[in-house]
Symmetry: D4
Subunit: 158 residues, 8 copies
């Protein structure tokens, strides 16, 4: 089966957070490919990846980066696939720099921004599944089951 | 042809901004339905709308709201469709309140946050088209043409 | 005696903070009920709870949540009881996201926002007691005694 | 009939905003008293007012102030009545200074913070009515009718 | 010799920071009095202290408080002595709440705001000495010596 | 009579705001000298001014500047006189840049920061008078009268 | 004479601000080339421009952009020339988004960030001249003269 | 060979961060001189250093400071050399105070601001090398090699 979701991160140090997205995708039976690609340090490889993504059969690209977080935006500039941005938490500014760099995209080139950090990485996975599920009834069922599990986890609490 | 995209807004005063999304969708030949629904003032109608959205054939829901902007999040809680949130600019806090209320969703219930204000509304439309285009080659062509038009508009400048 | 105050929290992980509200209420002889209910993960249970709160005899609802903290606002949308919101401290944004999501409610649907974190949880309890005390002279005396104790604690210091 | 709600403001220039609270209270048949009292410029009059508020029969005090907005907090220090704080929008910091000065109260002395500006003033009125309504079935009916009117206003839109 | 400088703090937990001010004053041979007085928890004692400060011979009051930090402002409202405010670092908002509550005083009632935390406490002491030194040549010499020591400490470095 | 208070500003464009300080000083019978001196554009003149200030008989220096507002800090580095900083409101960051540059001074070199803008300029004047008043009973009386006038202005209101 | 400085901007609407840089460069006898190039809308043209900049003889690139302002960073990723970033003021977030996106670059790929808006554009020009002046004695003289003119302009004031 | 780059820091405690700049410069074969000089505590030594920098043969000055970080700005006021500012992370405000104090310079006196903390220190070194490389082909080659190493490090990852 073709890989439909990519998880890109700007630095290997983002892996612990971004692997939350991977884990969740795998729970839904979606196997992503992971790449470390930097908008600033490997710009041509990043652009190359973005340009070829659609014809390689990818459907959604998740990109996590921190600070002046240009990764998701650069990828979005080079593809017509939906791009989901995960702002990494940063040391000094706590990810507010990553968030603004990810979400404040100019008209014409959207990035779907998630919450800062691990919650955002998880939600990037869910959003990717929601997009794939539009044409996949089984994923729809899994999403409904997941929503029930979320609720059950809460109800079981306390 | 079925309506696949909904544009929801928390107050009629959001219409000038959110109609930017409508206009852009129509440029792509996608005819959205517009609703004014408030997470706080018409909560049951909002939930009802969200719960029925998928079976009514909708595929993407765009929700714009300001301040303690719960609209996108409330809709996301009640559907498995992708939900795109547009944070409205607000008077005192300039939309940073809307942005945080939209983007900082807990793990499990994603909202795809766009930029604050009109750029965000436009990008919500593009992202919706990108999602629909995954199964629609004509929309893919239109998106590629749109990217070229964006570039041409820049190049024509100066 | 009827339960008049509810303490709701969006996640079981909020319990250590929200139990500060419980402890303080019990010091005043007010026995609250505690529930874990999420605006995003158990939305229908939350709404149901809010809709029935008044006829069950509740008088004040305290709701603590973090991030895109919609819990207090969602409850306020479904009840005419006073709702007190406690913004939880969050990892990246330190609770400023929770505060804005809680306090910036649109006209018509108030939430009484407290300070971020444990001080806010404690003050939610005091405010609930102040409201109940309007029709309860004993609680008034206890509040006056509590104010004296606060002062004495300070004076005893140093 | 006794005056049960007071609207205090730190400066006469706050009147246009705070009169929104007055108007809304009057819609509910609640006649407030208005006072201009400053925590910094008329501190003794402010304290005196706060100390006597309860025995004069007041039940809720709404206080609006801007900048280093100490008014609500100072009043709360001198009464056991519920105090609702409305952070005024300010010129340079847009009311974020007023919000932090109002909401970040220390444990033991709560202020119920509303949104910045006019929405906050309106919601202060609603919250005051919600508190009075706990012992007043007519006000409960009016609050329910008000919620319906809010919804109808939205539905009538667009 | 009369006590000319007071160091007031809103909570005993502020002592480790505020004692930095005390230590530095003592280095200059100025013996301050320390008090724990809270604008919210011992308001009358605070006001009483402020009202009597001048006639007791005090010349400068240093006040440290955190969160909705009203202490310096309340004291300034009740005295014509110069009041120096030290914003305490707070847990969630890191003292930005304390800073805004201290510095954004309305026209007519100044508070001399220092940096957040320990640097601010130290500088409050130096500013107090600078004020006393206006009529005290020995303190002037000590201040000049202190400036030299600061420089020497830097130069000796590295 | 000797000039005891100086009002320095970083740019002539700050004059409308800083002249509020001048006007208020003159109300108290204190005649300040005004200078336009820039920490960045006339650094040597600024330092020269600061170094000679005390021997020229000045007792308090008020410095207003915006953006990376180094003026007050640079003056404080070169004098042992009390220096009061007024953060100017700026176009983009609204004076929060000026405030942080003014107030966050390192230990050893205090600047007494006032509120952003015109209120801060006025309060700089009052603080200067409070300092001079420590050795001037007439100024003390004027300060007490001023406090009464502030209160009367409020009371006369509404 | 070869063009040594480029002024790039992300949108033609940035021209009024960025032309401040052009004007100042021309005052120093440095004739820049201006281009409208967008990191998101004409990404390949932007990269192409950056890659060829050095061999075309350029020595400094000034890049102005707003919001998720990736332009300077993208250029810096593709050249070893010094890149100066000018954060444009934006509507909602006032340029703080542009500033964070410009300045918070990851280690290895510097962008020299200037102040938000027109002051930043002017300073980008001065910094470019300072860099060129390292090998150009005439420019050094002009810079010294410019510094004198700045001072004279201040001194002539008031 | 002449020393062309200086690294100045406001306090010896900044050394661990600023030595990152030194290490990187040495990797490029550039030997900097390091100085601890404070805008506030050793102002005359700082100005003296800045005034003589150019005639001593320095070409670039890197200045790191925290809080009301005036060091880079003060140096820039006294030299026509390019000045690079590194905002130190601070305890309470996390370096946002340092950033604003460094970057928001008035028109006419630029400081090239880097990211907050260690990344900024490293990038200051790279920018200094980029400036020196304009007249040094070997440094150009080293910069190109460095860019490749950055990319290789990323590619080698994962």
């Amino acid at each position: 089966m073709k890989t439909k979701v990519a998880i890109i991160m700007g630095s290997k140090s983002d892996l612990p957070v971004m692997s939350e997205a991977e884990k969740l995708l795998r729970q839904f039976g979606v196997k992503p490919e992971l790449r470390v690609l930097s908008a600033h340090r490997t710009p041509l490889a990043t652009i190359n990846y973005a340009c070829l993504a659609q014809q390689r059969g990818l459907q959604v690209i998740i990109a996590g980066a921190g600070g002046a977080a240009h990764l998701a935006g650069v990828i979005a500039a080079h593809t017509i696939l939906p791009v989901i941005g995960v702002p990494m938490e940063t040391h000094a500014l706590k990810g507010i720099d990553s968030l603004f760099s990810t979400v404040q995209m100019p008209a014409g080139v959207p990035v779907a921004a998630m919450a800062i950090g691990a919650s955002g990485a998880k939600n990037a996975a869910i959003l990717a599944v929601q997009i794939l599920a539009l044409e996949d009834k089984k994923l729809q069922q899994k999403l409904r089951a997941y929503k029930k599990k979320l609720a059950a986890a809460i109800k079981g609490k306390k």
